[in-house]
C-alpha cells in the first residue's frame, strides 16, 4: 500500500540491512506463504475437483464448477447450452454496489480529508481520532445498530414524524439505500485516511502559485490539487471498492438478504444444503482473477505515469 502512496522510495537502503534482506524478510514471507499463498492454492485446486454431496470433494479433476458458472443448460441440464446469466448478474450487482459505495465515500471522504489536512497540525490528530472512534466497535454491531436507527419504528423516522417533516414513516430498511448507507458507513475511513496522508504532504504553495496565475478555486482543485494527491485517491478507492465487493453483512442485515451478493453466494456453497465446495472455490477464483486484472491495469497505468513524470 505504501508503495502506491510514496513513489520511488527504494533508493534508501542503509548499510545496516545490506545483505541481510532475505533474513529480515523471512517473517513477512512466512506470513504471506502460510496465510495467503497456501489457502489460495487450496482454493485453486478445489475449484477443479469433483463435488462430494453435502460438502467435501472427490479427488477427480473436472471443469464442472466453471461450467456451472458460465454455461446454462436449463434446470434439468438437457437444454442447449446458453450463457448463464444468473451468476454474472450476481457479479454485476456486486460490482455496481461497490462502485456506488466508492463514489459516495469519495464525495464525502475527499472534503473531509481536505478539511482535516488543512487544520493546525495539533488539532489534526484530534479530527483523525474522531474519524476512528466508531471503528472501535465490531462491524457486525455497527451494522445492526444502523438497522435499529433506520427501521420504520426507529428513532430517525420518529424524529422526522415528531418534527412534522413526514406523516408516515419512510421505509428505508431492506432497500438499496440502506445497503449503500451501511457500506458507506463501514468503509469511509478507508477513503479518508489515504487521501489525508496525500493532502498532508501536498505543498500548498502550489495552490497559491495557481492563484497568482489567476486560476480560480475550482480550476486549482481540479488542475493542481487532485492531480497531486491522485495516488492517495486511487489507494482510497481501491480500499473501499474491494471490501465492498465481497461485503455481505450490509446486504444481508440492511438489505434484507433478498438477493445474493458474491459474498453470500460463496457462503451458501459452504454452509448451505448441498455444500458445493468446488463451485464456491471457483466463484472465489473468478472474483480473485477479476480483481487482479483490475489491479494490474492500475499498476501499469501507474508505472507509465511514473516514467512519464520523472
Amino acid at each position: 500500500m505504501a508503495g502506491w502512496i510514496t513513489k520511488g522510495g527504494n533508493g534508501a537502503q542503509t548499510s545496516i540491512v545490506d545483505g541481510k534482506q532475505h533474513i529480515l524478510l523471512m517473517p513477512a514471507w512466512f506470513v504471506i506463504g502460510i496465510l495467503l499463498v497456501i489457502p489460495v492454492l487450496v482454493m485453486l485446486i478445489y475449484s477443479f475437483l469433483t463435488q462430494d454431496f453435502r460438502g467435501g470433494v472427490i479427488w477427480e479433476f473436472t471443469l464442472e464448477a466453471y461450467d456451472q458458472f458460465f454455461i446454462d443448460r436449463g434446470l434439468f441440464g438437457d437444454e442447449p447450452a446458453r450463457i448463464e446469466w444468473t451468476y454474472l448478474g450476481i457479479f454485476w450487482r456486486s460490482f455496481l454496489q461497490a462502485l456506488f459505495a466508492m463514489v459516495f465515500c469519495f464525495l464525502i471522504g475527499f472534503p473531509t480529508a481536505y478539511f482535516i489536512a488543512t487544520r493546525a497540525p495539533k488539532s489534526r490528530s484530534f479530527w483523525l481520532f474522531l474519524i476512528t472512534i466508531p471503528y472501535w466497535v465490531n462491524l457486525l454491531i455497527r451494522t445492526v445498530s444502523m438497522k435499529f436507527l433506520i427501521r420504520d419504528t426507529g428513532p430517525l423516522n420518529n424524529w422526522l414524524m415528531s418534527w412534522g417533516v413526514i406523516d408516515d414513516p419512510i421505509s428505508m430498511i431492506n432497500t438499496n439505500f440502506a445497503i449503500q448507507l451501511g457500506l458507506f458507513y463501514s468503509y469511509l475511513p478507508f477513503m479518508v485516511l489515504p487521501i489525508y496522508a496525500s493532502i498532508e504532504r501536498y505543498n500548498f504553495a502550489l495552490s497559491e502559485a495557481a492563484a497568482d496565475l489567476y486560476s480560480n478555486r475550482w480550476t486549482t482543485l481540479f488542475k493542481v490539487v487532485i492531480p497531486a494527491v491522485k495516488p492517495g485517491i486511487i489507494a482510497g478507492c481501491i480500499l473501499v471498492f474491494i471490501p465492498s465487493l465481497g461485503a455481505f453483512l450490509a446486504p444481508d442485515l440492511l438489505g434484507g438478504a433478498k438477493n445474493f451478493m458474491i459474498g453470500s453466494l460463496v457462503e451458501e456453497q459452504f454452509k448451505g444444503q448441498s455444500g458445493d465446495w468446488p463451485f464456491g472455490a471457483a466463484v472465489s477464483m473468478i472474483l480473485l482473477t477479476i480483481i487482479m486484472i483490475i489491479l494490474l491495469f492500475y499498476a501499469r497505468a501507474q508505472s507509465r505515469d511514473n516514467n512519464g513524470g520523472h
Binding site: F53, R54, G55, G56, L75, F76, T86, Y87, G89, I90, R151, D152, T153, S171, I173, N174, D252, L253, G256, A257, K258, N259, F260, L265, E268, F270, K271, G272, Q273, S274, G275, D276
Partner: protein, 344 residues
C-alpha cells in the same frame, strides 16, 4: 455465539479446577442457546463428570464440521430429524441397546419408532416443535390459517413479510403450499414451484433466520416464518402476534441427542442421555427453549404458561405436521438451483 461458547468453556474450566484432577469429561456439540447452564452444572454435581460444550448454528454446520474431522472429539451432538438419518447413513453414529439407558422407557411412545431412527438405536428425543409463521393481528385480522399469507399475501401484508433464510425449510413449506411432494423431480411441478416463489418474492421484505423473532417483535415485518418456540418469545415482546397452524400443513421437526461414533467417553455420553430423559431435566430444557419435550411425565415440572401456549398447542382441527425429507443428490441439486434462481 462465540461469546456464549467461551463463557460456557470458562465455566467448564472453572468447574474442572474445582474438581479432582481425575475428573471425567463429557464433550457436547450442541446448538447455540439451547440448554440452560444450570442444567449442565447439575449434571456435573450429580455425576462428577465435567461438561465441555461447543456450539453450532445449523444442522449443515454440524455435519460439515464432523465430516471435516470433528468425529472422535465429541461424545454427543443434537442434530435435527433428517440430519440424524444423514449422519447415520454416513456412519457417524454409534448404537446403544435400550437396556443401556435406565430411563429409555421415559421416551414417549410416539417418538420411539421414528423414520429417521427406527426403534431409537442411536438417538433419544431432545425437543420438538414446528415451523410455520406468525402474523401481527393489529395489521391483518382476516383468516391466517392458510399458507397464502406467505405465498399469496393479502394487500395489508404485502411488502411486510420475512422469510426464513434456510433453503430446506422454506422450500419444504412452499411445497406444502402447492401440495407437491418435498422431493419432486417432476418438471412441471418444479417449474410451477419456482415461478410461484418468484412471484411471491415481490411481496417479501426480507430473508432472515436468526432475526426471525426480532423482525416480528420490532414491527419491521407484519408476518414472518418462524419456529414455534421462537414465536412464543416474539409474542412475549409483542402481544398482537399470532402463530398459525395452516390448513395446508406445516413443518414439524425434532432435535435428538445422538451417540457419536468414536466417542471419547461413551459411558459419560450414556449417562448424559439418561440425565436428559429424566422428566424434570427434560422440562428444564423446555422451560428454557420454549419447545416441547419428547419425554413422559414432564407436565408437573413445566412452566404453566407453556402448557396452554397457543404456539405449543395446535388447534384440534389442525392437520398433522410434516417432517423434512432427505432428497437424493440429483433431486437436491434441482432444489438448490431453484433457491439460487430465487435469490439471484
Amino acid at each position: 455465539m462465540r461469546k456464549i461458547t467461551m463463557s460456557l468453556g470458562a465455566a467448564a474450566l472453572a468447574m474442572s479446577f474445582a474438581q479432582s484432577a481425575a475428573a471425567e469429561k463429557l464433550t457436547v456439540y450442541h446448538w447455540f442457546e439451547y440448554i440452560p447452564q444450570e442444567l449442565l452444572n447439575e449434571f456435573t454435581a450429580e455425576t462428577g463428570i465435567e461438561v465441555v460444550m461447543d456450539t453450532y448454528d445449523s444442522n449443515e454446520a454440524l455435519f460439515a464440521n464432523l465430516k471435516a474431522g470433528g468425529l472422535g472429539s465429541y461424545d454427543v451432538a443434537v442434530p435435527g430429524d433428517y440430519m440424524v438419518k444423514i449422519m447415520n447413513d454416513e456412519g457417524m453414529l454409534d448404537t446403544f441397546s435400550p437396556s443401556e439407558l435406565k430411563n429409555f422407557g421415559n421416551i414417549m411412545d410416539q417418538w420411539l419408532d421414528v423414520d429417521f431412527d427406527m426403534g431409537r438405536k442411536s438417538s433419544i428425543p431432545y425437543q420438538w416443535g414446528s415451523t410455520s409463521f406468525m402474523v401481527d393481528r393489529d395489521v391483518y385480522s382476516g383468516n391466517i390459517r392458510t399458507t397464502d399469507i406467505i405465498f399469496n399475501p393479502p394487500s395489508e401484508l404485502k411488502g411486510k413479510i420475512n422469510i426464513l433464510d434456510t433453503a430446506g425449510e422454506t422450500l419444504a413449506f412452499a411445497s406444502l403450499h402447492m401440495g407437491f411432494p418435498q422431493c419432486s423431480s417432476d418438471r412441471a411441478q418444479l417449474k410451477e414451484l419456482s415461478e410461484m416463489l418468484e412471484t411471491a418474492k415481490a411481496d417479501w421484505a426480507s430473508f432472515n433466520s436468526d432475526g426471525a423473532k426480532d423482525v416480528l417483535s420490532s414491527g419491521d415485518a407484519a408476518a414472518g416464518m418462524i419456529w414455534n418456540g421462537f414465536g412464543a418469545k416474539a409474542r412475549a415482546e409483542r402481544a398482537s402476534l399470532e402463530y398459525s397452524y395452516p390448513d395446508q400443513g406445516y413443518i414439524v421437526w425434532m432435535d435428538n441427542v445422538v451417540l457419536l461414533k468414536d466417542a471419547p467417553n461413551r459411558e459419560a455420553a450414556l449417562k448424559f442421555m439418561d440425565f436428559l430423559l429424566e422428566p424434570e431435566n427434560a422440562a428444564a430444557v423446555t422451560n428454557y427453549a420454549r419447545y416441547t419435550a419428547g419425554v413422559k411425565g414432564v407436565e408437573a415440572f413445566l412452566d404453566p404458561e407453556l402448557v396452554t401456549s397457543p404456539e405449543n398447542n395446535p388447534p384440534a382441527d389442525a392437520p398433522a405436521g410434516t417432517f423434512i425429507e432427505v432428497c437424493a443428490p440429483e433431486t437436491q441439486a434441482l432444489y438448490d438451483a431453484i433457491w439460487t434462481q430465487l435469490k439471484k
